[in-house]
Symmetry: C5
């Protein structure tokens, strides 16, 4: 789980990590932020008519539901306890590399097809209204015949709406169809959440744009820079999602029914929209940076103009005054009666002349 | 409907939205600007010899025309009334995801083929001469055997020319051919409207270019920036149109006759032209920004030159005057007879010398 | 016909236009600059042994040559008279969309294959030595069995060399081969003309480069900017030519003989060379802009240095002089005998010290 | 072996070299940094049950192990002794071009399939904690039936973890499977090492970012520049790795078992992650450069403001003082009683007025 | 032959040229720099056992060697004598377009397959140590059964090493294999020569980098700019080489034996390396330009700081001195005993205060 706020944003979130170089491939090691949350295991089992929901103490409790031709959705909250992941591996006969990928929360989104199941890693992005922060975490999905196992890092309610639909919607589409439709529903819910994050970022851009027109400060620069880095981060997590969804869509795996095709195409369209919006936002952030620089340079010009004006007008005048401050004994002008008024006349003419000149040059 | 003027342009128009994350996929919810216009339903039914035109109160009235082997064009104005969309769904047996897409006015242009119909979303862009504003809205098209249903957000006359042709042109091509040719005609009319918008933007660019050469102000910068954002927006809506038209062109769907192929290729060429022109305009806007910055920097240089000139010439002179303003008792020069004229001679020589020097340096 | 000079260059040339949005697809309307030239129709009819050349009054005169197994080359000068285009359409049975494309001089280069003929639109670019101007116009080509019909906007002699070869070269290749080889010859002549335009632009770049090194003025900036826009324009017209030539080359149309393949490959290579040269020129223009900006910034630095020098040296001195210009009654230095020489000593030491300091800083 | 520190980084590392132009293709010549290390030859021979490890004096000692159906891993440290490479060529019947490639340490990563063996060149990148330096060297791999021969430039322990696993892990996967799995293990270990280097660079970026916000100095600029060059270098060595791994993965060579496919896909994912991270880092370095420039320009503005302020306030005042420093005989103000206090009043009013003005302009 | 030095580099080298637009396709006209060298014709004829080397007076002398089942390598130095080229065309039955391409030294590298021969155009790039200059020229190659005809513009020794190998290496690979292997050897020798040029450019970059850190002058800017243009030029000539080599490699022409495949792959790898290095160098040159600009801007800042410092410190002091230079009759301070020392105290305090302030602002 990663906060995506400007201040707390750090490079380390961008770094993928693998298990210790020396460890054997397929070794299951948790890689991610230290977690202290207890692991929760939640189960939903349903078909068109029946519905069971339970918090399980251990995976063994789900065994009776596993092969009863109803769709079983197991949801793990917390992947830092590799014990549980290994247990899943044994009971559902999962490839060790997959288990190792589940425990590594710095994966790139991907989909892998195995004989009896499909493994998918996606990034979930959500905006917490109460704290005003954006979080990102990894969701791993195992889809088998009649079951879906999802692993998430934290206990958040992005998928709660989906669960509610399953609970209430006796006879609705998700209850009638199989595990591949449930997979679609989960991905759809996650992709839809990106839109709320994008709306949040869009709001920020709009605000920055307005501020920029009013007052280009150093903090604004830092904010635009932060925004750009944020978008780099978002792009990195959403870009491979396109590929993931498109792979599932074109999949000829037995587990993916043809009827799900049209739904996957829909979620694919949404993913494309997210990607394009992120790209557009990056363009706009670059545009804002250009605008910032131009505005700065404009401001500089204005300051320079004032400086030049004062200097150009008063420096010659000071010289003019300096001349008659000299103490030469033989300076005829000093004795003349109207020297002083004439001096003032010359001085004022000079000022007026220069102001007219600068007005013509459009510097005033 | 989105105004595309520099001032009223806001980021929110760039944001795609989906229905509430928690709602089931395929739920039909209106997403877009709040609308208060009444929904209108207009019908044209024609074949080579006959022609009927009606404003319908309800969809049921069109049922007698639906299966009479003439082409029926139903046009909905206003998609915020989801009641109507659902009705269409029932009568024409449309997939719920399609209905949900029709009600969502933030879609990406796309085409989807179903067994009995083709669904297309495109963006319509038009320039209102009286207000001088550019609007963009979404048009959804359902093409079935012998019928076309179009949904637009507002009541505008982009397609009126086409209707006129159908009305008057007894025996003309559109009357002889089927619903796929009508689809082509609608897309062609919409793409052609982009050209008028581009002409408008081209005019703006030309104006900005001229202004830029005369006077590079801060507002000009804001205008160029606004123009660039506008082009980002246009590009986002026209880019996927290429794909849409090319998909229809290459389609092997029963509804698309081979004879329409050559027409689709023509509209595809136009789309490419629009895309290329938008790209070219973006290049030109970038070029203008560069020019703006260079002009600013040139201006700065000129101001600096004046400052330097005044400072470099008068500061030493002021010093020269300051020397003989000192009150030391023993300053022999003060008592000499020709000190003052000699001082003036030195001063003027200095000024002339410096002016020659600066002329050589090309600063004057 | 479009002048491609820096000053007269306008955005409107970049805008593709289609017929009035409300008109039916395939309506033949002239789109382009207003023309007052009379339309000319010129015919060449040849085979290996025979040769006929005529200026025709009307198209009907060519009918006897149409089906006589010799190659007939009809050349229209002026496409604003849609009457003639419609006549061609009737006699040679041309698709209405093609006729509409011929009359629209803002087309994108393209090639379209029909059952009995191939339709090609290309852009011709030529440099008029006497006026020093570059023009661009559209050439449409209809290639059928034993005939080629070419439409050009103006009466220029780009193809005159080719005609001369046909006239004189009894038994030469062009006389032996069919209409597809004539098509190749026309395209080849047009592509070769791009090289002369590029040479002209290359000369401009070389000149600008030299000037840039000597003196970076505001006009130079405008010239570089104009050059870049010019290249944007050239690129837009030559880029799709690649596709056109490559499509003809790979064509399996009956009209294109296998023997022409090697010639088409040759003209394709030339097109690629033009495209690459345009790209290279764009790179160079961008490089020049960078150089311009850097040169400006260098110049600024030099001016700043002078300013700083004068200010830094004379401002302290003026202060030094100011001190002893004060009129305090009790200033012991004023009465000392050697105050004045000492003051000069201090002043001169200061100047020398600062000059040494600035020399070390490399500001002098 | 190349240090990748900012200071020691030189262009020469980027230059590929081939053998002397005049030498025949396939001539085995060592190309790389001068080496004085003795060449070491280390052998591991294992199958599921047995394990032998030896330091060999000469290649001939390995012959008994070569054909005994166990996997034999020969590791050469040092490729500057071409004698050994030629010996390998003879005994294992390797193509002369391959031998020449092994001796040339400036190769581009690649994979080549021959009838009896696969030849792979990859770049190994590792971070030495004790010196804080990053090194890069070339590893060449020959994979045959039951044997793997690896050539590295230096004696480092990147592969030591893997060896340890083979030593201890009786019955573990690597002991059960063939030479293709060993190949995977070696590539996996090398790719995983890139992550530690990236973490190191990521740390540098984070540090630079923080420093940048505090104080933008010239050294910082040099560091950012150095970082960018470093990333250019890294990218050049990791980019072709994608292709290498993907080629092995899709290989239909007899030596690559289908079971290894899933492992190769895993290492391919890691390579993609490295590539994407390098790209992201480049984006961030570019962003930092922009930020640096903007910060500089901000700083300049602030300095200019102070200058303008002082100049604009004090230059007019100095003039004001200069007026009454003039020695005209007839200056009535000089004799007035309250001239001096009035002068002060005017002076102070002016200062206050200007400060208010500048405050409004937001320059203070 | 083109010098590639910064000063002598001109745009004209980038311009491809074709024969006079009006001339017939396939007309053999020399296009290139005026040449006065005599044309030389050199022949090597060899097989595994025999070897003949001769300078021929005319092409007819080679006829006895043409069909004797040994490889005959004819090398023309000088292509401005089109007489010779036409002779080759007649004797070896070469397509006229090929002959025309040989005589045109501004070709783009390409390969064309004909029934009895393969035609290849490549660019040769070499560094002359004695003059320190880089030259580029075109080499055309005709490969037939048992013969290779090469055309080069000048008499240089790039291929001398290869000839030496053929002369001495009785029984070596080149003597055993056919004309396709000779083709490979020639291309390999030419590509290898690019590396020496790249090394030279790399050295220049390294030097520029060092100078840049020390002192950013205007000449340095011109050098970086020149380097970038040079790389644009190199890229233009090496980029299509990739395609050339890859086409030969994948060729299924009878003349290319399968055994040559592995060698062509090797030279392809080298070409890729050259291309990538050129790209990397371009990146680095761009990076240097950025660094240059930043350094300039840094320098400017430093100068500005000094200016500001002097101005900010001395302008107020001058004012302070100016106050007491006024000649008002009633200025009480002038008569006070300790006015002068108090004035000095205030002045010095001010200076110290400002220095402390500027130190804090980090401007000192």
């Amino acid at each position: 789980m990663t906060k995506l706020l400007l201040k707390t944003f750090g490079i380390s979130k961008l770094l993928p990590k693998t298990s210790k170089p020396a460890s054997a491939p397929g070794t299951v090691t948790y890689i991610g932020k230290k977690q202290e949350l207890p692991v929760k295991l939640h189960m939903i089992d349903y078909n068109e008519t029946d519905f069971t929901e339970k918090n399980l103490e251990s995976l063994v409790e789900c065994l009776p539901f596993k092969d009863n031709h109803t769709v079983t959705w197991l949801n793990y909250t917390g992947v830092h306890d590799i014990q549980n992941i290994n247990e899943v591996g044994e009971i559902f006969q999962i490839h060790p590399l997959v288990l190792s990928d589940i425990a590594n929360t710095t994966q790139r989104p991907k989909v892998e097809e195995y004989d009896n199941y499909i493994f998918t890693v996606i990034k979930m992005c959500y905006f917490k209204e109460n704290t005003g922060e954006v979080y990102m975490e990894q969701v791993s999905l195992l889809i088998g015949k009649d079951y879906v196992i999802s692993f998430q890092e934290n206990d958040i309610d992005v998928l709660e709406g989906l669960r509610e639909r399953i609970r209430n919607g006796k006879g609705c589409r998700v209850r009638r169809l199989g595990s591949d439709y449930l997979l679609y529903c989960i991905i759809d819910a996650i992709v839809d959440n990106y839109f709320s994050v994008l709306e949040n970022i869009g709001g920020q851009i709009e605000l920055l744009e307005k501020e920029l027109m009013l007052n280009a400060t150093q903090e604004l620069l830092a904010k635009i820079y932060g925004l750009k880095q944020e978008l780099v981060y978002l792009r990195k997590s959403i870009w491979p999602m396109r590929e993931v969804v498109s792979t599932i869509q074109r999949s000829e795996h037995d587990l993916v029914n043809e009827g799900t095709y049209v739904y996957m195409r829909d979620v694919y369209d949404h993913t494309i929209q997210v990607v394009e919006t992120v790209e557009t936002f990056r363009d706009m952030a670059s545009g804002m940076l250009d605008l910032y620089l131009s505005t700065m340079s404009n401001k500089m010009n204005e300051i320079m103009k004032v400086l030049t004006l004062f200097a150009a007008i008063f420096i010659p005048l000071t010289f003019l005054a300096g001349i008659y401050g000299m103490n030469f004994e033989f300076m005829p002008e000093l004795k003349w009666r109207f020297s002083y008024p004439v001096w003032w006349f010359i001085t004022i003419s000079l000022v007026v002349g220069m102001i007219i000149y600068f007005k013509r040059k459009k510097w005033l």
